[in-house]
Amino acid sequence: MRNPRVGWALLSPTLIILLIFGFAPFLYVLFVGFNQWNVFSADDGLVFNGLDNFRRLVFDDDFLHSVGLTARFAIFAIGSEVVLGFVLAQMLTRDFPGKSLFRIIHTFPLMVAPIAVGAIWRLLVIPGFGPVPFFLDRYFDLTYQIGSYPDQALMTSVLMDIWHWTPFVTLTMLAGLSSIPREPVEQAKVDGANRLQVFWYVTLPFLRPVLLTTVFIRIMDAIRTVDEVWMLAGGGPGTRFTGIYIWRVVFPRTDYGYGSSISLITLYLTIVLCWLLFIAISGRRKGEVE
């Protein structure tokens, strides 16, 4: 008979680390979120102000705008990554010349630090010096200035994210596709199903857990995106996502109380979003058990 104490003992280092570095800071942010605290205010101490910070953010146009921008960014980026990732994963399940080389090159962006990704893209697209605006202007007569056009800044951020994270989606999809048993696929073909029907009724249901996990991870990443976009456009119009807005409130403005409350609401929105997505994709209803 197994002794549960051994299990707890083995788990305890991880639990202690989680408690210290995960749960304790969360409790601190929770506490600060209910206080007014700006170290450069006339009264620089913590002053309990109840729900004032949360009331303030409901009417904060900049925050609401940042949520809208983040949503657009997440939808465009993750949607594209999932489609592209699936297509590339399908491609990699087959043999073709140069497959190994392609797989290495394709995975390369994953190895680059986000801040370096931002720097690379900034050098590519900076007006006046970057090759992208130069060639777009010279050969297509297109004006491309991420500092002047917020939509261009947003779409450049989306493209950068796709470039950086599609390989991750490809790899998870590839793992999912590789784990699908051959029999159901062959059975469906024998029964006369075309390729679309095989994909819809066989492949996709088998991929659902992998898809769900991948989308969850990417949603959480997208919502907290800061470094890449910060490097690219400094969080100006078109790229002032929620993460960057929080950074601005907490650091340059040193409004720790309000920044904490925005962080909490963002965490709450992330959890709700993931839960809704989980229900939508998994098709689970209240009371259902796997």
Binding site: G234, F251, T254
Partner: protein, 477 residues
């Protein structure tokens, strides 16, 4: 023969005497630093030409003399502030010295982050270098003193934002003739805003006609960085007569209705003019901070512009980084009628006297070793070469140094301008809420640059938002 021998003897004597003097100096530093040898002191600063000189040259010299290691991070402006403030606020003691930009000193003093250097040196006389004298600094040091005259930061850079223009273009006979034919008066560096605008339009059209990468002006108009707000509030605004960001500290308001001026006619006129220059600026203008503006000018992409003086020296002399060496003209920035006269009478200023100092946070664990370091960088012996490399002067005597006199000619009299016209410029207003309020103004300026708001709407909304923030911070009405 005898005469020659005497001369050789005298030279030898002078050399030996000089060496012994140097050795005596070196000995003092080594002796004073002996208890701290092997200690590592850490600092953080913005990556600027003067800071990079400290990191690359002075830190190594100090370590060689004293055995005290200096780890000096030169990072981005935003990161510098985040790191320094977080460290001082949390009292973690990561940094032994921090860069104090002139405009943030009032916030730091209000929070009692910094060690009183005058007092600390007086309390540690065994660490007081004979070569270091607080009185040797220019009046810029006054910004880092409290009401009692005690110093809280050793000035390490000081410069003004000047009007730079390309002499090769402005003095080209064909270009001059073309300009005069089109505008009816001679081409010259701008002395008023109308002339500035004419120059900007002319050179933009000229660049297009000649298929050159040339535009009429710089604009520090980044829509993702506070640099644009700073250019408007600290360079363009004052040159129109908008002072102290349009904030009336006594009234605790930025709105005209309550005694402020951020939404007043002068502010709107200044912003309208500045925004009207955007079509004549290089395409990178809306992504440009102070660094990119300097790079654009150095690349020869702008005929004239507002450029921070710390960049003047390398733009004018460093052929490895600048395409316009030897062709840089330096003048006072353009001002509206009456602004210079007001500045001369001490009733205003024409632009920002920028700069910074190194101070010791209370959280430092190595204050004594850091005091030695700050005295080292504050001594006269290191000033001239530092000034030549970084176009910064913090000692009065440095202006008369032969090296600076020589450099002055290469930079079209920038150092002379700094010495003689410096008093027309002023540091940032004494706000203890500097970054907090600037962050509030940023989005409105950025939206005006994008054309989403008119200048009047942008400033009206900004003034209202500033008042709300001032009230929240406890400084408002």
């Amino acid at each position: 023969m005898k005469k020659c021998f005497t001369i050789v003897l005298l030279i030898a004597f002078a050399l030996v005497a000089n060496m012994s003097l140097v050795s005596a100096d070196d000995m003092w530093w080594a002796d004073a630093a002996a208890p701290y040898a092997g200690t590592t002191i850490r600092g953080v600063s913005e990556s600027t030409p003067p800071s990079n000189y400290v990191a690359d040259v002075l830190a190594a010299q100090f370590t060689e003399l004293t055995g005290i290691n200096v780890e000096f991070e030169t990072t981005s402006w935003d990161q510098m502030y985040s790191k320094a403030i977080n460290d001082m606020e949390a009292n973690t003691g990561i940094y032994d010295f921090v860069y104090i930009e002139q405009d943030i000193i009032y916030s730091y003093l209000a929070q009692d982050y910094l060690v009183n250097l005058t007092q600390f040196a007086a309390d540690n006389m065994d660490l007081a270098s004979a070569d270091y004298d607080e009185m040797a600094f220019t009046s810029f040091a006054d910004y880092f003193k409290n009401a009692d005259g005690d110093l809280f930061g050793v000035p390490m850079e000081a410069f003004v934002k000047v009007y730079l223009y390309r002499k090769d273009l402005f003095e080209d006979a064909d270009i001059m003739a073309a300009f005069e034919e089109e505008y009816g008066y001679p081409l010259a560096p701008a002395e008023n805003f109308e002339q500035y605008a004419d120059n900007a339009m002319f050179f933009t059209a000229y660049g297009e006609m000649m298929d050159m990468d040339l535009w009429g002006t710089t604009v520090q108009g980044s829509t993702g960085h506070p640099a644009s707000t700073y250019e408007f509030l600290e360079s363009i605004g004052p040159s129109f007569g908008l002072y102290n960001w349009g904030i009336n500290l006594d009234a605790g308001s930025a709105q005209s209705a309550n005694g402020g001026a951020l939404d007043g006619d002068t502010a709107v006129e200044a912003l309208s003019f500045w925004l009207s220059m955007l079509p004549y600026a290089p395409p990178e203008a809306t992504s440009s901070t102070w660094d990119e503006v300097a790079s654009s000018f150095a690349a020869g992409r702008a005929a004239q512009g507002w450029v921070y003086g710390e960049n003047a020296a390398w733009i004018a002399t460093d052929e490895s980084r600048s395409a316009v060496t030897g062709n840089v003209g330096v003048r006072l920035p353009v001002t509206a009628p009456g602004v210079i006269e007001a500045a001369q009478m001490g009733e205003g200023y024409i632009g920002y006297y920028d700069g910074g100092a190194f101070g010791i946070p209370h959280s430092s664990r190595n204050k004594e070793a850091t005091l030695l370091w700050l005295q080292f960088i504050g001594q006269p012996a290191v000033q001239a070469e530092w000034a030549a490399a970084g176009a910064r002067i913090t000692h009065t005597a440095t202006f008369d140094d032969p090296l600076i006199a020589e450099q002055d000619m290469k930079v079209d009299g920038y150092y002379t301008l700094l010495e003689e016209q410096g008093p027309l410029f002023a540091g940032a207003p004494p706000f203890p809420f500097h970054a907090q309020v600037r962050e509030i103004i940023d989005p409105f300026i950025q939206r005006a640059i994008l054309g989403e708001l008119t200048p009047a709407d942008a400033l009206s909304q900004a003034a209202m938002a500033v008042d709300e923030e001032l009230a929240r911070l406890g400084y408002g009405m």
